[in-house]
């Protein structure tokens, strides 16, 4: 927190020193993250769904839940100075998976609806190093972020077998806050004076720990160990930026 404030203050104070140019831009990203603990939950759930799907006295079918592998994001950024630029960016990431279906047994219907929607919002201070007349940038960014996970689940199990693991029937939003850091490389293609199209790739560190809802830690896997939410991973994206000489 202290270093984030220092970086932001430095960014403001240092504007006159680097104020050779001002660059503003926005972009979209695709990010990859393993979401390890959530993946365990999804795999356990799918195994349970498959088991019930195959029970002889149960008809109907519930599709498996896709594995969470990433999502999309948007970013807006601003930097002053060249070849060393400082600035900030606002980043929002979103992702999610869901399934829905129903089982029937002895004339009774057992609906299943499960969705996991997660996202992250972060404000980052950023330092950019420009090379090749600004056509290649390397950036380091750090700041604070907030992550959330909406877990909505209705899971009705046909009679007969009892399953010690069943997805929790609930609709809750779990939240967490934490440090977010990123390192990235961006290549720019000038389109016209001051306007550039960029492609970028990078690595993000966003470990948020175990989110909570009303003080209850996230434990969808029901193993007594909280499920961590982390957006750690790689991203690729495209961006549009405008550069003004000051």
């Amino acid at each position: 927190m202290r270093w984030t404030v220092v970086a932001l203050v430095a960014a403001v104070v240092a504007v006159p020193a680097w104020a050779g140019s001002l660059t503003v831009g926005s972009g979209v990203q695709w990010f990859a993250a393993s979401f390890t603990d959530l993946a365990d939950y999804v795999k356990d759930t799918n195994r349970t769904i498959d088991y019930v799907n195959e029970l002889a006295d149960v008809s109907g079918r519930v599709p498996s839940v896709p594995l969470l592998r990433g999502g999309f994001g948007v970013v807006i950024a601003q930097a002053v100075g060249r070849p060393v630029g400082i600035g900030g960016q606002l980043l929002m990431l979103k992702g999610g998976v869901s399934t829905e279906g129903r089982w029937q047994q002895a004339g009774e219907t057992f609906p299943v609806a499960l969705s996991l929607d997660l996202g992250m919002l972060a404000g980052l201070a950023q330092v950019t190093l420009s090379f090749a007349n600004g056509l290649l940038n390397i950036s380091l960014a750090g700041g604070l972020g907030m992550a959330w996970l909406n877990h909505s689940c209705q899971f009705s199990l046909p009679g007969g077998w009892d399953l010690p693991f069943q997805p929790l029937s609930e609709t809750r939003e779990y939240r967490a806050q934490g440090f977010v850091g990123a390192a990235g490389v961006r290549a720019l293609l000038p389109l016209r004076q001051g306007l550039s199209l960029g492609t970028e790739a990078g690595l993000r560190f966003a470990p948020f720990g175990v989110p909570k809802a009303d003080g209850d830690p996230l434990d969808l896997a029901q193993d007594g160990i909280g499920d961590r939410l982390s957006f750690d991973g790689l991203w690729v994206g495209v961006s549009v930026s405008l550069t003004f000489d000051l």
Binding site: R47, A132, F165, D232, L234
Partner: protein
Amino acid sequence: MRKVGVVSIVVLALAVLLTLTGCTDRFQPKAPRALFAVKPAEGIAPLVVTFDGSLSFAENGKIKEYVWDLGDGSQSVGPIVSHTYTRGGTYRVTLEVFGTDGRSARRTTEVVVRHPNPTASFTFSPGRPATGERVHFDGTASESPNGKIVDYRWSFGDGNWSGEGSKVQHMYWAGRTYTVTLTVTDEADQKDSITKTVEIVGGTPCQGA
């Protein structure tokens, strides 16, 4: 341009290194997942319960061993096992699975076995008692699969007196039919009752005097 190349390579190398070492656990070994199904999870003793651990899985290999702690001091191995619980109680059943890489995982559930009811039974003699005659009630034929009968309570149907004990005596002072009820309680606090009618012959003792 040379500097650009060096920096880019350093950044990419750093990214690859961090990805492999900590940013993703895709390459890290993972413990198997212990999942199972139970049928039935509750019932009355003696209860035959089937446990199906074939839901368990290991991402990095296969499940090598399934070990069941059945909660009543017995253990079993194998993906699917059956066990009979002969006495009532709540049993914590744990499945521990071992993957081929030696890692393990466990999951626990509870099986609730309700105690069966005891069976209350009694006889009385003489079969056709008269007013003022001592009637002997014997409840020792009552039994329980849960252990001993620890309490006998009698209701003799004349509203005046109730008795305790497996064998009791009672006298009736008016000639009519009485409803006698024995309620037994066993070690597991399970109860059962039985009711019989006793026909008392004759009038009141003072009428006969």
